[in-house]
């Protein structure tokens, strides 16, 4: 591997910064509707203007996820999408799109594989970074160490409820980026712009220039533009996954994602 995941992530954030915008990072559960077709869907999203991706590793009890992503996870698990299968999807996405890929998971599947071994697997799949939804900073040390060892990026979370003491410990832990939770709640579509992104960004910025990626509840181009104004990246999850679950055919899913992502890509470019 010529470049480490950490480096690819740093380049992604530096690149969009130079363009004066935030990165668009769509989320899709790996293996939805099938592993092969999910790779095609990521490729279509790359062609429509996504800057990178979050590939969801399905988990049976996803405490941070609302009904849509839960349903996608259940479907993927029924289709036999294990961590290894999901990482193979991620690897193909990296190879096919040359975009940075993050994987999102929960603690238990990582523990089952072994923290160090999980990060090695992630690195050898060419994945750039890891997001673990139920890993607060208090428990993160062994994961931060393993990520560093494997030269893979890792996110830590900040939420609107995070107090200053916790924010300081997040920043001082040197994550590759901060996943800033835009809404108090689980993943799912919202009707309005986040009322939290501006305040969250300025609280983080007061302490550090770590890249800030907003996620949770960002559903429309307008939401994306709004969040992008204060962040270095925007994750759109449920709005993407729902389109795939609703599509009657692979072609329909591809067309729906192409349209949605191209509108989102315009939005993150016109935000500032």
């Amino acid at each position: 591997m010529t470049e480490s995941g950490q480096q690819r992530l740093a380049e992604l954030f530096a690149g969009v910064k130079a363009e004066g915008r935030a990165a668009l990072l769509p989320y899709l559960t790996a293996g939805i509707p099938t592993p092969e077709q999910s790779v095609e869907l990521f490729v279509a999203m790359a062609e429509a203007g996504a800057d990178g991706f979050e590939v969801g590793i399905p988990y049976a009890d996803p405490l941070m996820d609302g009904p849509v992503i839960m349903r996608a996870g259940e479907q993927a698990l029924r289709n036999g999408v294990t961590v290894d299968v999901a990482l193979r999807v991620a690897q193909q996405v990296v190879e096919r799109t040359a975009k940075p890929v993050l994987v999102m998971t929960y603690v238990n599947p990582v523990l089952r594989i072994g923290i160090d071994r999980f990060f090695e697997k992630v690195a050898s799949a060419g994945v750039s970074g890891v997001i673990i939804a139920d890993l607060p900073v208090d428990e993160a040390l062994p994961y931060l160490v393993a990520a560093k060892q494997a030269q893979v990026g890792i996110a830590l979370f900040v939420a609107p409820t995070t107090d200053r003491t916790r924010l300081v410990s997040v920043v001082e832990s040197n994550p590759s980026f901060v996943y800033a939770v835009a809404e108090i709640g689980v993943t799912g579509e919202r009707s309005a712009n986040s009322a939290n992104t501006r305040a969250l960004a300025s609280r983080i910025r007061a302490l550090s220039d770590v890249p800030i990626v907003f996620g949770v509840g960002i559903s429309t181009p307008e939401h994306a533009a709004h969040a992008a104004a204060d962040g270095d990246g925007v994750i759109v999850g449920t709005a993407i996954v729902r389109r795939v679950l609703e599509a009657q055919s692979h072609e329909e899913a591809k067309a729906a994602l192409t349209l949605a992502v191209s509108e989102l890509a315009v939005a993150v470019r016109r935000s500032r």
Partner: protein, 394 residues
């Protein structure tokens, strides 16, 4: 070694901790601080003790089950948590957490329930204290514990059916946690057992240890009364068992036995024996023994008893298991049902199916327990299970 409290990361040895979305972490820390403050406040204790004696009906009696004793060839005593208000030990925890909710100034409470006993106990505490109450319950459990669903509604609680997964306790806990992620600023989650992220396992144990503390006074070896040689309790999440065991843990003169659900038999894979046949992992925010597959995916549990139909267990039990402070055994659905009937007819007590598991183990082990003083923690009454039992014979 028995730990009076977990370390600052919420660990009992290797187990426990708080693996939760960041959105919840400040509330968990706030809860810990509020609990520590309340638990050191004599005013809080006075309020709680008053409710426990006048509202809950504590202390619950210890009953000498003479006909069962004779039949089994041992000296059997029942700690009568079934006689606590609402019919199970769950109320000890909900009244205390209800008071804490008021103290934190939160107007809304959520809870999960399996057998419905914790839901009823939470709805009761909320009616008592004037709190809004929402209870998550798996749709399968709504079916098999219909009586308790109606009781919750009578008490003014909203019962929300959970359709994800197998529609049982695990799914109800997850749904409650998801609600809490969204509602955390105005809502307290009254979790129903010694499970979940720190500080819940520790706090709920503190609220339930009154069971064992009373027992120590009630069977203290004085005035012709014995002291327990063996204490047996059912283990779902583990709160009644922790409540009765904790004051005795480490006492070399008392054997502590937790009884899990073997469901259709351990080899069938359809059981709830997380401690006996699971492995360490993270479920519902804590590191503990759990049922999981080779890929770290949570498995569905199975038990005829909704309260034991859970693939995790409180982290302090995991610690007790590894420290060999408690022995964990399991009995099948069929054994539990047989024990249920035997207690009905021999003592005039209809036990909860959960409690029937602990009795079934005593019956199975009667020969090796011969002549011993055995205390069964009769965690709840069986009214809620009557319909389910009746349906078995239709």
């Amino acid at each position: 070694m028995r730990l009076s409290r977990p370390d600052e990361t919420g660990r009992f040895g290797d187990f426990g901790g708080a693996f939760a979305p960041e959105t919840l972490m400040p509330a968990l820390r706030e809860l810990e601080a509020a609990f520590v403050d309340a638990w050191a406040d004599t005013g809080f204790h006075a309020d709680l003790d008053h409710l426990l004696s006048t509202f809950v009906g504590r202390p619950t009696p210890v009953y000498h089950a003479e006909r069962m004793s004779e039949r089994l060839g041992l000296d059997l005593w029942l700690k009568r948590e079934d006689l606590a208000h609402t019919g199970a030990h769950k109320i000890n925890n909900t009244v205390a957490q209800g008071l804490l909710t008021k103290r934190m100034g939160k107007p809304r409470v959520i809870a999960e329930t399996g057998a419905g006993q914790h839901g009823v106990a939470t709805a009761t505490a909320c009616a008592l204290l004037g709190l809004e109450c929402v209870v998550y319950m798996g749709e399968k459990d709504i079916e098999r514990q219909a009586l308790n669903v109606y009781r919750m509604r009578l008490l003014g609680a909203e019962v929300i059916p959970v359709t994800s997964g197998a529609g049982t306790l695990k799914d109800a806990v997850s749904a409650a946690l998801r609600d809490w992620v969204a509602s955390v600023e105005q809502t307290h989650y009254i979790i129903g057992s010694v499970v979940g992220p720190h500080p819940f396992p520790w706090m709920v144990r503190e609220f339930q240890k009154i069971i064992g503390e009373e027992l120590k006074q009630q069977l203290d070896g004085s005035s012709g009364l014995p002291t327990p040689e063996v204490i047996v309790a059912p283990v779902g999440g583990g709160s009644n068992a922790m409540g009765v065991f904790y004051p005795y843990a480490g006492d070399p003169d008392v054997d502590l036995v937790g009884v899990e659900a073997a469901g259709l038999g351990i080899s069938s894979g359809k059981h709830g024996a997380s401690l006996g046949h699971g492995s360490p992992g993270v479920i519902h925010g804590a590191m503990t023994y759990m049922l999981q597959d080779d890929f770290g995916q949570v498995l569905e549990a199975h038990s005829i008893s909704a309260g034991l139909d859970y693939p995790g267990v409180g982290p302090e039990h995991s610690y007790f298991k590894d420290e060999q402070l408690v022995r964990y055994e399991s009995v099948t659905d069929d054994e539990a049902v047989e024990a249920f009937h035997l207690l009905c007819r021999t003592e005039g007590i209809i036990p909860a199916l959960e409690s029937s598991h602990a009795l079934a183990w005593i019956i199975r082990e009667a020969a090796s327990l011969h002549g011993k003083t055995v205390v069964l923690n009769l965690s709840g009454r069986g009214d809620k299970d009557v319909q389910q039992i009746a349906a078995m014979y239709d």
